[in-house]
Amino acid sequence: MKIAVCVKQVPDAEARLRIRGDGAWIEEEGVTFVLNETDTYAVEEALQIAERTGGEVIAFCLGPERAREAVRKVLALGAARAVFLSEPALLGGDALATGRALAAAIRAEGVDLVLTGSASTDLGFAATGSVIAGELGWPHAWLVVGVELAEDRKSVRVTREMESGMNESSRIALPAVLQVQGGINQPRYASLKGIMAAKRKEIRDVAAGDLGIDPSRLGRAGSRLETVSVALPVSGREVEWIEGDAAAVAAALVTKLEQEAKVLR
């Protein structure tokens, strides 16, 4: 099977965030960027299905030039090639605009299955995969924690996470878009051989003009959402800080546990 996997590059969870001068986003200088967490699971799932079916994985990424690094990582993990959309006119979109662009690029490749992550850790729309499905006119499933391909490869049995620790299983016709949740598999690490091989793999740059979509429907221009500013959240209550070296902190905590929480016997 020919499988598309959509990957986004996002700030590392541990990154110290500073707000940019214009207040509208973070200062990217000095931030480490990584492959979006659930996308690593989507990549692994795509590779496993491709290995089982004798197919190939094509990575799709929309993002600024720095995101080429994330694309290389997916190639090092085993994707056959990649499609990269980095033109400024394509950036800054909401889920609808970004999904529209990715879907057009995917359509041009003619794949049998699309995998995405369940949510990006920066914008967190949890929507881009569904938008891709809608654009392609395919069924989709969000929060997928299990994929079982039918013998005839015409459908998949999908396990979806529900709230409160339950899973739903359902059958979905192929081609489809599956939005993969963390924990579905154990993602592999890139081998040295994989990293070397990635250097020779094709990253095809696709421009906005290649997509056959009205430019006013792409990127920031095609977005229905506009971020005015970002700020630290305001909290309802003030935390009381406990300071000092580890021993002092421990002593203070024991007092709280004993006298306030009353959980020590």
């Binding site: 999904g99 996470e161 406990i242 929480a261």
Partner: protein, 328 residues
Amino acid sequence: MSGQIWAVVQQKDGRLQRAGRETVAAAQALARELGTTAVAVVLGDGVAGAGSELAGMALAGVRVVEHSRLGAYTPGGYLAALAPLIRAGAPAYVLFAHTYQTVDYLPRLAQELDAGLLPEALGFQKVDGELRWTRPVLGGKLHAQVRTVGEGPVLVSLQSGAFPADAVQAGSAPVEQVAAALDGVDLQREVLGIESAAEGTVDLTKAEVIVGVGRGIGGQEKLGPVEELTRLLGAELAASRPVVDSGWLPRERQVGSSGQTVAPKLYLALGISGAIQHLVGMKGSGMVIAVNKDASAPIFKIATYGVVGDLHEVVPALNQALQQRAAG
């Protein structure tokens, strides 16, 4: 007067739940802010009860969509039921609860309607006469102020708890039955069954003390001191999602929107950043003590006591202090 505000109210077994009432409360508040009226929509199979609950709220109308094919949720069924209704009513905003069910179909509904999509709103306010929405970004470390642009309705999903359910204003609303043309519609999914996600059955909800570990623990091999602390406190060990996804602890110990919801007397959060999906599972705890090396971690926004530091130093020190106390 701008277009109406609609609330699409999620129900379960024909009854409204807290999330549904929160959606109505938000729609009422937004309608007041914009000088318009609010309408509630409920859909499913056997939802007359939910319809009459809504009839007792201050709304301009209640639309009830009943169909046997809406019994189990499917994206195809929900799209076919909602899209024509919203298209005909042309509301300015349609509000939903940001539940797993909503997230699954809302983007497709937005596409179908050529509507805007604003996921996971925390609130709204008027700034210079213009409506601004707040939504979390970067795992809740920052909040973004967002405005909507362009033509046509905007579909907004509201984060759980953002609008308290008890703010719903009572009143009396006319109920209208709306027919849905679902025969022959492609439901896009054949639901086969529902089962428990975890293999085991640890019940964390009964624990008085819970020690929760997050990705900050740094690996399964580093869990020893935390397990020791759990023993010393007579506590249950719990985990955030990445700890479980990485296979460091079993799924049955996950706390959060996909795991268990707990409310112990004490929750000790070690190396947990405090993403909303974790917070919804433990914010009802009596006392929260958070240890995190990042002072700006969102967990500190709900913590009673905060320690900015390395859990690998704090936990052994705490173990020692507890042992000393026990010894004499």
